[in-house]
Amino acid sequence: MGELPRRIQKETQRLLSEPVAGISASPYQDNLRYFNVVLAGPATSPFEGGIFRLELFLPEEYPMAPPKVRFLTKIYHPNIDKLGRICLDILKDKWSPALQVRTVLLSIQALLSAPNPEDPLDAGVADHWKSNEAAAIEEAKRWTQQYATGSLP
């Protein structure tokens, strides 16, 4: 892999110097395209109070191709599967090179506030969400308390 493109350098600098509230993203020292992400569950969502770890990787084609993002902390959400993969349009066909790591993470935070069981990645969770939303939210809260422990760095 060649020198780190200036765009990635600029994005990284800004992420570190002007962090977004409730989101921390910092690159690993041995691979500056690989980010350790910590995300606070949004208020008034079933994930409130939870601290979620994610990994984010900027592929060679970035920013023409989207970053690869995955939850490392277990989460009960219809658009996130057991392996932590995320179903979000901007990470796939709606990707635009004008999006940034910052905007991607904000979109993921928004997805936690507004689950979309109509476009599910995990069919089981989505069915639960559609058939009995209250119970599904309870389950999501339980998972948040059990797994999403820790603190923002």
Binding site: R6, R7, K10, E11, E61, P63, M64, A65, I90, K94, S96, P97, A98, L99, T103
Partner: protein, 507 residues
Amino acid sequence: MADDESEMLFDNSCDDASDAEEDDDDYSEFEQPSLAQAPRPFRCLRPDDLREMQAAAVKRVAETLCCEPSDATVLLRSFKWDAERVISSYFENPEGVLEKAGVCGSSNRAVIDAAAAQPYQCPICLEMVTAFSALGCGHRACTPCYSAYVGHKIDDEGTAAVRARCPLVKCRVQLTDALVNALATDAQRARYAVYLERAFVDDHPRLAWCPAPSCTHAILMVQPADGAPLTGAARVACACGEVFCFACLRDDHSPATCEQLRLWLIKCKDDSETYNWLQANTRACPACKTSVEKSGGCNHMTCRHASCGHEWCWVCAGPWKEHSGNFYTCNRFKETDDEEVKRKDLSKAALERYLHYYSRYINHHSSLMLEEKTRQAMEDKIAEMQALGSNWLDGQYLKEATESLIACRHALQYTYVYAFYLPADNHKELFQMAQRDLEMTTEDLSAEIEKPVEQIVRLTVLHHQQMSERRLANLFNAVEAHRVAEAQAALEAAHVPGALSRPQSQA
């Protein structure tokens, strides 16, 4: 549009369009078209014809709407290349049409590699720059970034590149070919041109690529006079010799329908009937798991498989020695008896029925596989005849007879698919009579031309050939008449006034 098409088409012998059918636009709305499905007129187009046809449509839209050709292309793409529909929809609702297609109005032109008065931050590389390119939406990015974006779409996203949009978030404006061609490298431009052509045929509902490997032709169906959508199977022949069904792109499968063929191929593939029969009629030997069929006699089974020899009870599958010779007391016997027998009989009958049709289908199919060999054999025979003193031209009737034979076998193969899905009624009886007649004469023809050269009688060959052709036509007529009658009955049952003007959707 029909007129534009007819100018650029090259003649081909497969083209059986009559002049009357070319007058697409000249029809009365109140005229009731006949329910009978005449062979659909079609034309075979070479890559040059396709380019001309595309260019003609673009020109028509660009001139009528006074827009850039590249915007006309985007508009046409979103309307499946129906130029007239683009124009009429545009005049009804210009803003709506432009927005839906992702085109900017003519007042907002794309800008390619211009210099901005003030430096701005490129949203892609995040540098302060002055050079920029933008589509009509005005979303700027510096030219190197824009070129990288366009290049990425072409290199990494295949045909989807023709639908690529402005690189800015959530902007729906489509990249125009003018901008792409200005920013892409030579190699990318060439590939983009291929994608555009491919997308043209894929998007156009009356165009389909010839499925033959390495054939670059496409088939254009002439617009039906009643404007009805294309439905159902349609046999088409490409100039390269490939004969196929326009609707499903598989081998020409008349008289069977596309759906029948699809079901049939699935059935043949997973061999599900055999499986059902095995399920119903056999049991696995408890010791070696070999399938065992009980062909009669008592329930004392002795496995014959290789060295197994296990003795067991058919009813409870337990070891026979526990039955101590008194199997009538085996308690599960009575409960399942009736149901079981019925299930076995049904399953066995279904399998036999399937095998009946399948074996005949596959028989003609494998004869056809030898098609090339048969053709070669005929060439050899004609050469042999020449050696015996007749001239080359005299032998040509054998070639024609071979082609007839192949056509008959081809149709016969699919008659078994058609018959398999027919309910047992009068039509099936009649159809099977026509099928039997055709099969008989086809076999006669086959036998005659396979004789040694000195025994072949020209008149006999011609007689069998004519009979075969006539019977083939009879068979197709019977199928068509039945289809029409069924469509008519469905219409009458539905009592839909005016439904006759759309016979295809009812058929």
